[in-house]
């Protein structure tokens, strides 16, 4: 997967978890929680969807890597590349 494809895959998951939000103005460097009101249960949804859709397991101590779109793509890119 390219970096853009990885970003799109994450965006698709967020779109499902936050269906009321307009994701077109997403700022990749701002906290996802601030932009879309995502709480801890939403981040667990992101983790669960990554496991379901891409068999990627994010260990609990690495959850902080999912705070912004940029950090998420950076963290997940190697996982997607090998997926």
């Amino acid at each position: 997967m390219t970096q853009d494809e990885t970003r799109q895959a994450i965006l698709d998951i967020i779109a499902e978890i936050a269906p009321d939000e307009d994701l077109r103005n997403l700022d990749d460097d701002r906290l996802l929680s601030d932009q879309f009101g995502l709480d801890s249960m939403d981040f667990l949804d992101i983790v669960l969807e990554l496991r379901k859709r891409y068999q990627i397991n994010v260990p609990e101590d690495e959850y902080p890597r999912l705070q912004t779109m940029s950090s998420t793509v950076e963290y997940l890119q190697p996982h997607f590349a090998s997926a």
Partner: protein, 409 residues
């Protein structure tokens, strides 16, 4: 009853034949059935009552996704009832509002969905959702209402099988009488059509209705009945003390004059006419009335042979061999809305106090001789000029009986 008089000032409902009281009443008077075919998971088609209310009228899509169907039904009914009562949260003490939602069961839908989900992953429980516990705790539907409306008073679900609609109203009025709340949002809901287990369970009991025409599947008191039609639904009322309601000039639908809850303690499933009769009698006595004061009996009859016959026997025990009141049944239109049944069936009859009509029981083509009561209104509505009092009965598994007596305001 001693102390405060409790009145109904708002009605919010969703049913297979209408998502507001006016539409629901119109279809009851017109004889319109709301039963259709559905296909539960793992099963062939079955007749069922389906609701089509607009959940996103009061919830964000994210709330719908995170919550439960029972929660969505409860929120819709609570918000509709609250608006109908002319109340505004901004002018109320939020800690003095309570939410009491009767439920037959809760959590089966969510559990079945998750088991189907992890089946896709070879039953690896790491794929089980973290939403499972908040969705399935037994206060969940009432708690969702409080989250949605910003209510800080007490909330709970009143688990009471198919007596839950009445039991929810009773709990709400008791909270008002105790002085613990000033506004009670209460009644019952059911999302049971989304769990195959409820259908498969009734089928295993040989109590699930079947008919080539789903609109004719629910046939209380009829010789050719085949059992229960499971339905979705919800009905929540706003209850207040009469003096509070009158002080703010609220419209009053009815006074809840009497109530009773009791228990058979004879069987898990089979009803007990003697205890049912005691329940009805107690509700009438608490209303300060005698059976002669009742103008209409809104029956529970679910179209099972045992259930229908024993309820008719209970009615004869209370009202004599030739009962004087008119008698009708709402399940014949909408099926058995389980936890919502008692509340929805009462709501369909409340407009009698305004339009002086009684809606009929439909699908009653050949009456079971054991159910032949003179007052049964069949096929067409009838006039009931000046009708003052309605007895509304609900009975559930494990022998729970609940009766309400409401009177013209």
């Amino acid at each position: 009853m001693a102390g405060d008089t409790i009145v109904m000032t708002g009605v919010g409902l969703t049913s297979p034949i209408g998502d507001d009281l006016a539409t629901y009443r119109k279809n009851l008077l017109a004889g319109v059935s709301g039963v259709t075919w559905i296909e539960p998971r793992y099963m062939d088609r079955v007749p069922a009552g389906v609701c089509n209310f607009e959940a996103t009228r009061y919830q964000k899509r994210k709330e719908v996704r995170r919550g439960t169907r029972a929660g969505s039904i409860s929120i819709y009914c609570a918000r509709e009832a609250f608006a109908d009562a002319g109340l505004e949260m901004a002018t109320l003490d939020r800690s003095r509002v309570g939410v009491f939602v009767g439920t037959t069961e809760h959590g089966n839908v969510e559990t079945e969905c998750e088991i189907a989900n992890i089946k896709e992953f070879d039953y690896d429980t790491r794929y089980w959702t973290h939403h499972h516990n908040p969705r399935t705790v037994s206060n969940s539907p009432a708690g969702e209402v409080c989250l949605n409306m910003g209510i800080h008073g007490p909330h709970l679900c009143v688990g009471s099988a198919c007596a839950a609609g009445n039991a929810g109203v009773i709990y709400g009025m008791q909270q008002l009488i105790l002085g613990d709340v000033d506004v009670a949002i209460c009644g019952g809901v059911s999302e049971s059509i989304h769990t195959f287990g409820v259908f498969a369970g009734f089928r295993a009991q040989t109590a699930l209705a079947m008919h080539e025409d789903p609109t004719k599947a629910c046939r209380p008191f009829d010789q050719d009945r085949t059992g229960i039609v499971v339905s979705e639904g919800g009905c929540l009322y706003v209850l207040e003390r009469r003096r509070d309601a009158e002080a703010r000039g609220a419209k009053i639908y009815a006074e809840v004059a009497g109530y009773a809850l009791n228990t058979d303690a004879t069987d898990f499933v089979l009803p007990n006419a003697e205890r049912q009769a005691e329940c009805m009698t107690l509700a009438i006595q608490r209303a300060g009335m005698t059976p002669d004061d009742i103008d209409l009996i809104s029956t529970h009859a679910t179209a099972t042979r045992e259930g229908d016959i024993r309820e008719c026997e209970a009615i004869r025990r209370v009202f004599g061999d030739e009962p004087k009141p008119l008698i009708n049944n709402t399940k014949s239109f909408i099926g058995h809305a389980m936890g919502a049944a008692g509340a929805l069936e009462l709501a369909g009859n409340l407009p009698t106090f305004v339009d002086d009509l009684v809606h009929p029981t439909i699908n009653l083509d050949h009456i079971d001789p054991a159910c032949e009561l003179p007052g049964i209104v069949s096929g067409e509505p009838c006039e009931a000029k000046g009708a003052r009092c309605i007895l509304n009965s609900s009975f559930g598994m494990l022998g729970i009986n609940a009766a309400l007596v409401v009177k013209r305001p």
